[in-house]
C-alpha cells in the first residue's frame, strides 16, 4: 500500500514537473483562448491588433539562429506598433509536438504563424489545411499551400564575402569549417565561402568537419579544436552557437561567425559574420497581410532585399580587404553578378558551371557537391 502511494506521489511529481517544463514553452502573451473567428482578415477593425505567432526551435539565448528570428520579431513590433501583437513559443521540438504548438497559437487567435525550423514543414502543412483563414509561413522548407508560404535567404552571398576576408587573412592557407549537417543549405554555404577564399588566395584550402548536429556546444568546440590542432588559423562555421569562435579565440586564432554578429559576443578576433536580418521580411509579410495583399509564395531573398547581410568587419581587417569586400558586395547588390556564376570547378577539377553561365535556383537548392578548394567529403554519397 505504501509502495503504491509512493508511486502515485512520484507520478504527481513527474506530472507537475512536466507541467512546469511546459509552462516555459507556453506563450509569453496572455491571450484568451477562443476559436478563430470566421471574419476575413482584411476587414479586421484597426483597433484590434493582428496576432502574429512565432515558433522557435530553441531560445533567443543561443545568440545565433533563434536570437536572430527574435530580433526580427522585435523589429516587427517596433515597426508596426499597435497594429500587431506577437506570441512566442520556444523550445518546440520538430515533429508531432510542433503540430500541437502551431494549432495552439492558432486557437489563441494568431492570424499569421512563422515557423522557424525546417522540421516544422509537415506539421505546419497539416494545420494549414485545417485553418484556411490563417496565414502560415515556414522558414527553409519547400512545401506550400494557398495559405502557406516558404521563406529563406540567399545566405551564400554574404558567405562568399566572408570567404574573401578569410582568404585574405589566412597565413597557414588552412581554414577550418565546422559544419552541421550535410544538406544542400550547408554545402552551398561551404562552397560559396570557398569560392570567396579562392578568389583572393588560390592556395588556401577549406577543411570541413561535420558535427551532425545543429546545436551541441561541446561538439562544436571539439570540432573547432580538432581543426586548430590540425593547423587551421581561421575557423568558419555553420552551427547555432558561438563555441567555435570562442575555441579559436582561446588559441589566439581568428574566426568567421554566422547567424548573428558574433563579434559583439566574442570579440574582434571574429573578423565578420554572415548574418540574418529576418525583420525586413517579417515587416513586409505582415504588412501584406494587413493590406490584404498576401498571396502564397516561395521567398528566397538576397542581400539586395536586406534579409541577409555581412556584419561590420572587425578592426583587425586591413583596409584593402575592406575595399575588396565593398567592391564585390556592390556587384552582388546591383545584380550584375552572383556567386555561383562560372567558371566553377568541383573537387575533382571537373568544370561544373562554364564561364558565362550561372546556376539556376533549383540547382543551387539541391547542391550536393563541393567546389575546388574544399577538403572533406559529403557523407550521404
Amino acid at each position: 500500500m505504501r509502495k503504491r502511494i509512493g508511486i502515485l506521489l512520484a507520478l504527481v511529481v513527474v506530472l507537475s514537473l512536466v507541467l512546469a517544463a511546459c509552462k516555459q514553452a507556453a506563450p509569453e502573451t496572455e491571450v484568451p483562448t477562443e476559436a478563430p473567428t470566421e471574419a476575413p482578415t482584411e476587414e479586421m477593425p484597426a483597433e484590434e491588433p493582428l496576432k502574429v505567432a512565432f515558433i522557435y526551435i530553441g531560445q533567443p539565448g543561443d545568440l545565433g539562429w533563434t536570437y536572430e528570428h527574435d530580433r526580427g520579431r522585435k523589429m516587427l513590433e517596433e515597426e508596426l506598433g499597435d497594429q500587431v501583437e506577437t506570441i512566442v513559443v520556444m523550445d518546440v521540438p520538430e515533429g508531432p509536438d510542433a503540430e500541437k504548438a502551431i494549432r495552439d497559437v492558432v486557437q489563441q487567435g494568431a492570424k499569421v504563424v512563422f515557423a522557424t525550423s525546417f522540421g516544422y514543414m509537415d506539421p505546419m502543412l497539416t494545420v494549414a489545411q485545417e485553418f484556411p483563414d490563417v496565414y502560415f509561413e515556414h522558414c527553409s522548407g519547400y512545401k506550400t499551400a494557398d495559405n502557406m508560404a516558404t521563406y529563406f535567404g540567399r545566405m551564400y552571398q554574404p558567405r562568399y564575402l566572408s570567404g574573401l576576408v578569410a582568404g585574405s587573412m589566412t597565413e597557414a592557407n588552412f581554414i577550418g569549417y565546422v559544419a552541421a549537417h550535410p544538406i544542400p543549405e550547408v554545402i552551398r554555404g561551404i562552397n560559396a565561402f570557398t569560392l570567396g577564399v579562392r578568389q583572393v588566395n588560390p592556395d588556401a584550402e577549406v577543411h570541413v568537419v561535420w558535427t551532425n548536429t545543429w546545436y551541441d556546444p561541446v561538439k562544436e568546440r571539439e570540432a573547432a579544436e580538432a581543426l586548430l590542432d590540425e593547423g587551421a588559423d581561421i575557423i568558419a562555421q555553420h552551427q547555432d552557437t558561438t563555441e567555435p569562435q570562442k575555441a579559436a579565440q582561446e588559441r589566439g586564432k581568428l574566426s568567421i561567425g554566422y547567424d548573428s554578429d558574433m563579434r559583439q559576443f566574442v570579440g574582434d578576433t571574429v573578423l565578420t559574420s554572415p548574418v540574418w536580418n529576418w525583420g525586413v521580411y517579417y515587416v513586409k509579410t505582415v504588412q501584406d497581410v494587413l493590406n490584404g495583399t498576401w498571396v502564397t509564395h516561395q521567398y528566397w531573398g538576397g542581400m539586395a532585399d536586406g534579409v541577409v547581410a555581412l556584419a561590420e568587419l572587425s578592426p583587425m581587417v586591413p583596409d584593402d580587404v575592406k575595399q575588396l569586400v565593398d567592391q564585390e558586395e556592390e556587384k552582388i547588390l546591383s545584380g550584375e553578378w552572383d556567386v555561383f556564376c562560372g567558371p566553377i570547378y568541383d573537387q575533382n577539377g571537373e568544370l561544373k558551371v562554364p564561364e558565362g553561365e550561372c546556376m539556376s535556383d533549383a540547382d543551387m537548392l539541391s547542391m550536393d557537391w563541393f567546389v575546388q578548394g574544399v577538403v572533406g567529403t559529403i557523407p550521404t554519397q
Binding site: R2, K3, I5, G6, I7, L9, A10, L11, V13, V14, L17, V18, A20, A21, Q24, G58, Q59, P60, G61, D62, L63, D91, G176, H207, V208, V209, W210, T211, N212, T213, Y215, D216, P217, V218, K219, R221, E222, A223, E225, A226, L227, D229, E230, A232, T241, T242, E243, K246, E250, F265, V375, G376, T377, P379
Partner: protein, 317 residues
C-alpha cells in the same frame, strides 16, 4: 605523429573528465541498489549553478562548491522519493532529469546580470596548468599532465573510489546493500542510511561533472550544455560493469572516438567519418540492449542484485 597523439590525448581527457565524474557518481549510486536516471538533469543544474555562482561571486571555488551542494540536493530528492517513499526509481529518475533540464534552462535565462541571460558571459574558469616535472615529459607531459584541477583531482579519485569499494569495510557494506539488503540488514548495516548516503554522494559527483562543463571545458553557460552526456554516463556504468577502474576505459573510449573522428575529418582523410561518428552511440545502444536482457545477463555483467528494488524490512520478496 607525436603531436597528433598529444593533441588527441589532450582532448580525450578533457572530454572524458565530466563523463567520468558522472559515471563514477552513478556507479556508487547503483552499487547501493538505487538506479538514478537523473544524471542528465543533475549535471545540467550543476553546470548552471556552478557558472552562476562563480560569475556573481567571482570565486570559482564557491561556484564549484555550489554545484556539489546542488548535485547532492537533487540526489536527495531522488533518495527521498525512492528510498523513504519507495517510489519507482525509473520514474523518479526521469522526473529529476525533466525537472533539472527545465530548471537549468530557466536559470540560464534569468541568472545573468540584472535577471538577463547567462549565455555568452565570461566568468572565472579552471585553466589547464602543467604539473611540475611530470608536465615536462614527452607526449604525456603536455596532455595527461597539462589539465585543469578538476581533472587532476579525478586522477586521485579513481583509485580511491576503487580501493574504498573493494578493500574497505564500508565498501563491503555498500556492496552488500546493493547485492542483498536483507543480509546486510542482518549484519547490522543500516540499509536506508547507506542508500541515502551513496545516492547523495553520487549526486555530488554528478554536480561536479556539470561544474567541469561550465567552468573547465566550455568556460561558460550554454543551453542544453550536457547534450545527452548524462545518458551516456548511465550506459558507461554498465559498460564498466560497475567498476571505477573500468569506467576510465569507457570514458576514454567515448571521449576519444569523438576527438579522433573530428581530427581525421580535419586532416581530410577519406575514412567515412560517419562510421566513427556513430561508434560511441553504437556502443550506447548495444549496452542499452543489454539492459533489456537484464535478467539474462545480470549475473554475467555483475549488476548489483538488488538494483532498482526498494528495501522494506521484514517484507518477503
Amino acid at each position: 605523429m607525436e603531436d597528433l597523439i598529444t593533441s588527441i590525448l589532450t582532448i580525450t581527457i578533457r572530454a572524458g573528465t565530466s563523463l567520468l565524474y558522472a559515471t563514477l557518481g552513478e556507479i556508487y549510486t547503483e552499487r547501493s541498489g538505487v538506479l538514478n536516471l537523473g544524471v542528465e538533469g543533475t549535471m545540467m543544474v550543476g553546470a548552471a549553478t556552478a557558472f552562476a555562482v562563480a560569475y556573481h561571486s567571482d570565486n570559482i571555488w564557491l561556484g564549484l562548491l555550489a554545484a556539489l551542494l546542488v548535485g547532492g540536493l537533487m540526489a536527495l530528492i531522488h533518495a527521498f522519493l525512492t528510498i523513504s517513499l519507495r517510489a519507482d526509481q525509473v520514474v523518479s529518475g526521469l522526473a529529476i532529469t525533466l525537472f533539472g533540464t527545465g530548471l537549468a534552462s530557466f536559470m540560464g535565462q534569468r541568472l545573468g546580470p540584472g535577471g538577463t541571460t547567462m549565455v555568452g558571459l565570461q566568468g572565472p574558469a579552471f585553466q589547464r596548468i602543467p604539473l611540475p616535472v611530470l608536465g615536462d615529459l614527452p607526449v604525456v607531459g603536455p596532455s595527461v599532465f597539462t589539465q585543469d584541477v578538476l581533472t587532476y583531482f579525478l586522477y586521485l579519485l579513481v583509485p580511491v573510489l576503487w580501493f574504498y569499494l573493494y578493500k574497505t569495510r564500508f565498501g563491503l557494506h555498500l556492496r552488500a546493500v546493493g547485492e542483498n539488503p536483507q543480509a546486510a540488514d542482518v549484519m547490522g548495516v543500516n540499509v536506508t542510511t547507506t542508500r541515502y548516503a551513496y545516492t547523495i554522494f553520487g549526486g555530488v559527483l554528478m554536480g561536479m561533472a556539470g561544474a567541469h562543463l561550465s567552468l573547465g571545458y566550455l568556460k561558460g553557460w550554454a543551453d542544453n550544455i550536457t547534450g545527452g552526456r548524462g545518458w551516456i554516463a548511465i550506459a558507461l556504468v554498465i559498460f564498466a560493469m560497475w567498476d571505477p577502474i573500468r569506467a576510465v576505459i569507457g570514458a576514454v573510449l567515448f571521449g576519444g572516438i569523438n576527438a579522433l573522428q573530428f581530427r581525421m575529418q580535419a586532416a581530410g582523410t577519406t575514412i567515412p567519418a560517419s562510421f566513427l561518428n556513430m561508434t560511441p552511440y553504437f556502443f550506447t545502444i548495444l549496452v542499452l540492449v543489454m539492459i533489456t536482457w537484464w535478467e539474462v545477463v545480470r549475473k554475467r555483467v555483475g549488476a548489483p542484485a538488488a538494483l532498482g528494488i526498494p528495501y522494506v524490512r521484514e517484507e518477503k520478496r
